[in-house]
């Protein structure tokens, strides 16, 4: 049985992996939200 808290994947690796996909996605969502706000102007 693998234990998620055992050494193996470090927090830094986990953080890097999530930032790698999260930052571009967040950038895209912000761009879209800025455009969507025109609906309420």
């Amino acid at each position: 049985m693998a234990n998620e808290t055992q050494r193996g994947t470090t927090t830094v690796e986990l953080l890097l992996a999530w930032c790698f996909v999260g930052i571009p996605l967040a950038w895209g969502v912000i761009q879209t939200l800025e455009n969507a706000m025109k609906l309420f102007q």
Binding site: M1, A2, N3, E4, T5, Q6, R7, G8, T9, E13, L14, A17, W18, F20, V21, P24, L25, W27, G28, V29, Q31, T32, L33, N35, A36, M37, K38, L39, F40, Q41
Partner: protein, 466 residues
């Protein structure tokens, strides 16, 4: 290339399962670019004329085939290569998807350079389409195996990436084209090369970090439910047996009808708001509405798929069909009273359920057919999406045109379509209601698995993966 094998991607003790959703997102955030391919259409009509279309330039109808061929090959490759994806493991599949998708862009760049549309059909359409299909199903069963406690949330997260990819691809492509364009040249070719390389690298990161759990692995503290749940099997069904079951085809119709109801609206949202509320909604506001729909499409994928872990897959689809029917029936009323807010709210909820339908279905398949071949079965099910991609827009566009041709004002031209969509959702409700547990004669027997393992040993010279 043995590092791509299934046996080399088995997680070592201590591997954190939360590394797998980013790996899946690396793939889906790239291949979802397909939703944003239309940003290239207009610039590609002016490759020779630069400021305006010239003789010999491609027209929009010809260019529209690139996306259609891509979606066709998405469905076809997911169905054809599903078993290979499942047996070869996620890393090999992600690598293949990256090569096809990135390579598709590079071949298309050559097509632009030579101004040969057939090369682009072959590049983005055929090669890229295969990358889309293989990439779409590649992380599904892996995520389900890592998250047996929350399979809906796990697959919902990946498929949310597919819905959100256009948010990145659209502004990125426009920005790249502006950088590569000069007064005498439109920078589509350079943009294709850049995107091909960037997407390939991004997908390789996913392939590098993905892992499959070791045989018998369970999340810490997780105990599979002891009480038997009628619609959640503990057995596996072989992919080619699964497509012989009535359950598969009922789920096929459930997905097809749910997608049909959403996809037609998604394509016509801008025109529909402006025609139903003349003078009240500007073109700019309509574009904002389309952006908002895309956000709800993406968020719905995560929200509904995660919710399905608590209320069950069948109940989640009951929600889609019941709430969707009511909302579609309400849309003409919001138009008649001139309520833009009511109209917007109705469609935002409808679109969230459209996305939710995509994201919840892998877990539904896992419940019905087990985890062993869920990715391959999902590949076959994606043909429902291709079918809905034809039904939905045809229903909305042709019925609208028929209404207008028969003297119905533009503001009321969508009413019949909305009632037809509501009717389709009622049929979907009935299909969902008819889904029962798969008969045990379809379950894989231990000797079936052993025989298949022996075939793999004979063919590859080493034991088949876990």
């Amino acid at each position: 290339m043995s590092f791509l094998d299934r046996s080399h991607s088995i997680a070592k003790p201590g591997f954190n399962r939360w590394m797998v959703p980013p790996a899946a997102l690396c793939i889906h955030l790239c291949i979802g670019q397909a939703y944003a391919f239309s940003v290239f259409n207009l610039p590609m009509t002016k490759l020779l004329g630069i400021t305006a279309s010239a003789a010999g330039d491609w027209n929009l109808a010809e260019l529209g085939w690139i996306f259609s061929i891509g979606i066709f090959f998405l469905g076809t490759s997911a169905a054809v290569f599903g078993r290979w994806v499942e047996e070869g493991g996620p890393r090999k599949a992600m690598f293949a998807a990256g090569c096809c998708f990135g390579g598709g862009f590079l071949v298309s760049a050559l097509g632009v350079y030579l101004h040969n549309l057939w090369i682009i059909y072959l590049g983005y359409g055929v090669l890229g389409g295969c990358g889309l299909g293989i990439g779409y199903i590649s992380p599904v069963s892996t995520l389900i195996k890592w998250f047996p406690d929350r399979p809906g949330m796990a697959t919902g997260m990946a498929i949310m990436g597919f819905g959100g990819a256009a948010f990145i691809a659209s502004p990125l492509s426009v920005w790249l084209m502006s950088k590569f364009s000069t007064p005498t040249h439109i920078g589509v070719q350079e943009t294709f090369i850049t995107l091909g390389i960037v997407y390939f690298c991004f997908m390789m990161v996913g392939a590098a970090i993905v892992r499959i759990p070791a045989p018998g692995w369970k999340p810490e503290g997780y105990t599979p439910p002891v009480v038997e749940q009628k619609l959640i099997t503990k057995n596996d069904v072989y992919v080619y047996d699964a497509i012989k079951t009535p359950q598969f085809w009922l789920i096929w119709w459930v997905l097809c009808l749910n997608v049909t109801a959403g996809i037609g609206v998604l394509g016509q949202a801008s025109a529909m708001t402006q025609e139903m509320f003349p003078g009240k909604v500007s073109a700019l506001a309509a574009a904002g509405f389309v952006g908002l729909l895309s956000l709800f499409n993406m968020a719905g994928r995560f929200f509904w798929a995660s919710t399905s872990d608590y209320i069950g897959r069948k109940n989640t689809y009951f929600c889609f069909f019941a709430i969707g029917t009511v909302l579609y029936a309400l849309v003409p009323w919001t138009g008649s009273i001139g309520s833009v807010a009511g109209f917007v709210i109705c469609f935002l909820i409808i679109i969230s359920m459209y996305g939710g339908g995509f994201a919840t279905v892998p877990a539904y398949l896992k419940d019905m057919f087990g985890t062993r071949y869920v990715g391959a079965i999902h590949g076959w099910l994606i043909t429902a999406w291709s079918a809905a991609g034809v039904f939905g827009p045809v229903l909305v566009n042709y019925i609208r045109q028929y209404q207008i041709d028969h003297g119905v004002p533009k503001a009321d031209a969508y009413n019949i379509t909305m009632y037809i969509m509501a009717g389709l959702l009622i049929i979907g409700f009935i299909c969902n209601f008819m889904i029962k547990a798969v008969h045990h004669r379809f379950h894989m027997k231990p000797d079936h698995e052993a025989l298949r393992g022996q075939v793999a040993v004979d063919a590859a010279g080493e034991p088949a993966g876990a």
